[in-house]
Symmetry: C2
Subunit: 284 residues, 2 copies
């Protein structure tokens, strides 16, 4: 099953990512409406042609008319929304999401919805360091990965629709992972790196260091500007996978430390050669 | 004292940094010669107008004619060169360097040279991930810091000359630090970040991760492609300062780990808020 232009697409949560979805879908000629908390977001989005129409109300007719509902909410808010309002979604509709953790929500939400409405999870690995629909742009998808995260409850139809959504949004690559694979990968590639950047910024209180920072330190800490509400939620919801990665990283830091202390030059060189080899693979 | 165009400038070690110095100085009309190990580097540099003349020999007349000698060598090779050949430098000449660590070499080299020749240390905080004179370009200095690292043995004249060299090379900022301040700053801003990037690349052996890496992981690990000979030398020569920074960073990582384990959401948020605050200062 593929997206078609007769479908009514509803976005719940019109922030940076929800807004960027809307922009990409409208460009391709889809009908897009939105429900979000802030009246000014709706006003801005309608005025700028980002959505066709929207509301801050729990508009039952609007929800009922949607064939595809895209949830762009924090994970816990998403789960609560489904628990409270899932019954308003029409039979046979498909819902998807943009949530950065999966294991803790996908099975629960599929359980809440039962057989009537199908939830196919997805994670668009794109973002900016700014927030809100006003900063939305589909340019963030251009070089990014879109990951479809099905469970054994999902149908081929829904998986195909979700993949098609990723391509229509303009992602560079669309792939598929299980919730467990997804969370483990995200724990390493995204959450651990945010932990490192935050810990590094907390390490040195000397305000003068900024006079001397070069590009490499700036690159490494760009993600240290972080939305503490979203990221504590993502961290704690993926706690076990993240702790495994934190331990694995600290083990390697500990190895380097011991090598330094004991002047184990060959050991240090081996780590650097391995690191160079692996990192070079990224540039191929 | 300032640089003047009648001075003979000799660069010892014509790699990426030595070559980039030569390019910048020649553009400003200075006379630049070079001594380096590789005949092809000299050939390339002369042919491309990067230097006026050069040799792979220990040309005593050339060394004797130099008013300013710039050493662009690994720290241990630099020290050995001065021990073996320092007597060939003429009375009253000034020498400087580009070495990334200072405490372990500056005092020793000043001691080796005695009163006859003055060594004023400097660290151009610029580089690329590629090597050799063929990759030289003065563009790397444009947004970078140049740090003059004097000791109490240095004269005002030599410090002023060295600062002037930084400006003539086209650096964005020229500052002054003591060897101890320099090494502590570099341990945190440069060496610790390289340790982190290397340890991170050694943490995960799954070759498939590269399919999912986003910009933030790529930014964070760009410096994980590392010259193992140069960096093990820089690490071990600044071992004590670096170990202090590694410990301080691992302490903060450990704090985050404990907060995660104990669901200390407020603690995690505080770290993220501090991190965001400090990192935002860089963008001002």
């Amino acid at each position: 099953m593929k997206l078609n232009r007769d479908m009514n697409i509803l976005i719940v949560g019109l922030g940076l990512i929800g807004g960027s979805y809307a922009i990409a879908l409208k460009k391709k000629g889809y009908k897009v409406s939105a429900i979000t908390r802030s009246a000014s977001s709706i006003e801005y989005a309608v005025k700028n042609g980002i959505i066709d129409n929207g509301t801050t109300e729990l508009d039952e007719a609007l929800i009922k008319s949607a064939d595809l509902v895209i949830f762009s909410l924090y994970p816990k808010v998403f789960k609560k929304w489904i628990a409270d309002n899932g019954h308003l979604i029409k039979d046979g509709a498909i819902i998807t999401d943009v949530t950065g953790v999966k294991g803790c929500i996908v099975a629960d939400i599929q359980e809440l919805l039962g057989e009537r409405v199908e939830f196919i999870a997805a994670h668009p690995m794109a973002g900016r360091e700014v927030y809100g629909v006003e900063n939305s742009t589909d340019a963030i998808f251009k070089e990014a990965n879109y990951i479809v995260v099905p469970t054994d409850k999902n149908t081929e139809d829904a998986i195909e629709l979700c993949e098609n959504l990723g391509w229509e949004l303009g992602f560079k690559r669309v792939t598929t992972l299980s919730p467990r694979q997804h969370d483990s990968m995200i724990a390493f590639l995204s959450q651990l790196t945010h932990c490192i950047a935050v810990a590094l910024m907390c390490t040195n209180s000397n305000p003068n260091i900024k006079e001397y920072t070069g590009d490499s330190f700036r690159d490494l800490t760009r993600i240290a500007k972080i939305n503490e509400n979203m990221w504590t939620e993502l961290f704690t919801l993926n706690k076990h996978a993240l702790l495994r990665e934190v331990d694995a990283f600290m083990y390697q830091m500990g190895r380097m430390k011991t090598m330094l202390e004991t002047d184990d030059i060959e050991g240090l060189k081996e780590m650097m050669i391995l690191s160079t080899e692996r990192r070079s693979e990224f540039d191929k």
